[in-house]
């Protein structure tokens, strides 16, 4: 069903909406990014992929301005995210939505109130209008009937859909997805994949998606960046990556268990380790 969609491989010529340049970030001693460059174009779904532990969520937090890079910059619509005052940053975030891995619904508010939350905070709309908007967003994710439930009563997939409704409540221009498909049963996964794509088309959103679910991500993404070892290892359209010759990219894209990205955590030689067991200090 996504076939016609994948035709959009034309070169992206317009100015990118989000630009990441020479991004360096380290946490303690550990270097997470060593010069990452990304360009994210308007109205497209851009996927950022890579093995777990490569700091993909960290990258989203850097884009959202929650973390500060050691060097480099992140520009959204021409404005440097990390050179804003606290107030300007919060204003900027009104134009972004973020979908968290766990959904991150406010546990003390009902589904309805969760979706209404951004509206109440940022607008002075009358209650009837808020209600219409909330029901509209909930309808879009198919959970209008669940509006009185509390987040603790929702399944993981439903919670993520409510979170999606909340993320789009203010009609943002940019939406950041953190591992949207992880840990879902096949049905909810399918629902989420379809929803993501449909919302992107219908609302003209720019989407950035961090994921390691290769199959699902490749079906909906317009452009893919593969990150490993703190750098962009490869980027291109899903079709382009599929035939990439780089062994590391091909290992990741085709999901091979062992290859340039080793199966084993770095350790001394197995044989030596076994023999050493008697001499443990």
């Amino acid at each position: 069903m996504f076939d016609n969609f994948l035709e959009g491989h034309e070169p992206m010529s317009d100015t990118p909406f989000v630009v990441v340049e020479g991004l360096h970030f380290s946490r303690g001693e550990k270097e997470i990014f060593r010069g990452v460059d990304l360009q994210i174009h308007r109205g497209k779904i851009t996927a950022i992929m890579g093995p777990s532990g490569t700091g993909k969520t960290t990258l989203l937090k850097l884009i959202g301005g929650q973390l500060y890079p050691d060097a480099g910059r992140v520009c959204i619509d021409g404005e440097d995210v990390h050179r804003q005052s606290r107030k300007a940053l919060f204003a900027m975030r009104r134009r972004m939505g973020m979908l968290f891995q766990s959904g991150a619904l406010f546990s003390d508010l009902s589904v309805y109130e969760n979706v209404a939350f951004p509206l109440r905070v940022h607008t002075d709309l009358p209650e009837s209008m808020v209600r219409d908007l909330v029901l509209m967003k909930l309808e879009a994710v198919g959970l209008r009937g669940a509006r009185e439930l509390m987040p603790s009563e929702l399944s993981g997939g439903m919670a993520r859909r409510v979170a999606l409704a909340r993320a789009i409540a203010l009609d943002p221009e940019l939406i950041l997805y953190d591992e949207p498909f992880v840990g879902q049963d096949p049905i909810s996964m399918g629902v989420l994949v379809q929803l993501t794509k449909r919302l992107n088309e219908a609302l003209g959103l720019t989407s950035v998606m961090v994921s390691h679910d290769i199959k699902e991500t490749l079906t909906i993404a317009d452009y893919v960046y593969v990150i490993a070892d703190g750098r962009v290892m490869a980027h291109g359209t899903p079709a382009g990556l599929d035939v990439d010759q780089d062994p590391r990219v091909s290992q990741f894209v085709h999901g091979e268990p062992d290859g340039p990205v080793p199966f084993h955590y770095p350790a001394v030689d197995f044989f030596t380790d076994i023999l050493d067991a008697g001499g443990r200090r």
Partner: protein, 260 residues
């Protein structure tokens, strides 16, 4: 040796850094005019930290007042001074026991719950997502809790004192037979409103700020895992208890120790 000194130095720097973070944190959350919704959030937290802590505080106050009267009587009666029981019960409650014990109970009942609640919100990324929606969690989550704590604990301390004085009355007058007139009369003659009740309230206000501050900061600053939450909750109770007892000494020295 050098390694140990380096270690000590690093711990010192970390401590200083944490204190700095906590200070900025307090400033950012405490300063600012609350919105109408802010009042409502504050009200909810007042219910949570105030009304729900009332039972434990009042029951403890009653027992402490009763024990004070019982212990005080057995000592005072040796000097033939059992008429001074009211004065002893009231002064020990107002100056020391009510502010301190109420603060310790508050740290255990409300402080640890605040830490766990904020910690859980952090662990489930609710704070981050609030930030991404463009709402400052310091103002929305932390500030109402901080101010609720600061208002609730002095009120709880008053309740503790009142119930404690009545507890002392029950044991001293009703049970041990101290003359009722001298119980209240000696109390009224020796208790000063500003010097005793006022200073007790000041103590309680200081404890309220410190305990709530520690609780919300520990919740906000914790490592967002299950283990991190349980550690932070323990830290809240330990740190606030130590802070309350230590500050109590300092405040007592300043207020009643002639250090002025």
């Amino acid at each position: 040796m050098i390694r140990h000194i380096t270690h000590l130095g690093r711990r010192g720097c970390e401590l200083l850094e944490a204190l700095g973070r906590a200070g900025i944190f307090l400033f950012l959350s405490a300063v600012g005019v609350p919105s109408r919704e802010g009042w409502y959030l504050w009200l909810r937290q007042m219910h949570f930290v105030g009304v729900l802590s009332l039972a434990i505080v009042l029951v403890s106050g009653l027992f402490i007042g009763m024990v004070l009267a019982l212990q005080g009587y057995t000592i005072l009666v040796d000097f033939g001074a059992e008429q001074a029981l009211g004065q002893m019960v009231a002064l020990s409650l107002l100056r020391e026991l009510a502010p301190v014990v109420a603060a310790l109970l508050f740290a255990g009942r409300a402080g640890s719950a605040l830490t766990a609640e904020i910690g859980l919100m952090k662990a489930t990324e609710q704070l981050t997502s609030m930030e991404m929606i463009g709402v400052d969690p310091l103002r929305r989550v932390v500030a109402p809790r901080l101010w609720a704590g600061v208002v609730a604990l002095p009120l709880l301390t008053i309740g503790f004192s009142v119930v404690g004085v009545y507890g002392g009355y029950l044991v001293g007058v009703e049970w041990l037979g101290v003359f009722e007139g001298s119980y209240w009369g000696n109390m009224q003659a020796s208790v000063e409103f500003i010097a005793d009740i006022g200073n007790g309230m000041v103590k309680s206000l200081v404890f309220a700020l410190v305990v709530t501050w520690i609780a919300v900061f520990q919740g906000y600053d914790l490592v967002p895992t299950a283990e991190g939450i349980s550690r932070a909750t323990t830290r809240t109770v330990v740190y606030s208890s130590l802070a309350v007892l230590g500050l109590d000494f300092v405040l007592t020295a300043v207020m009643f120790g002639g250090l002025s």
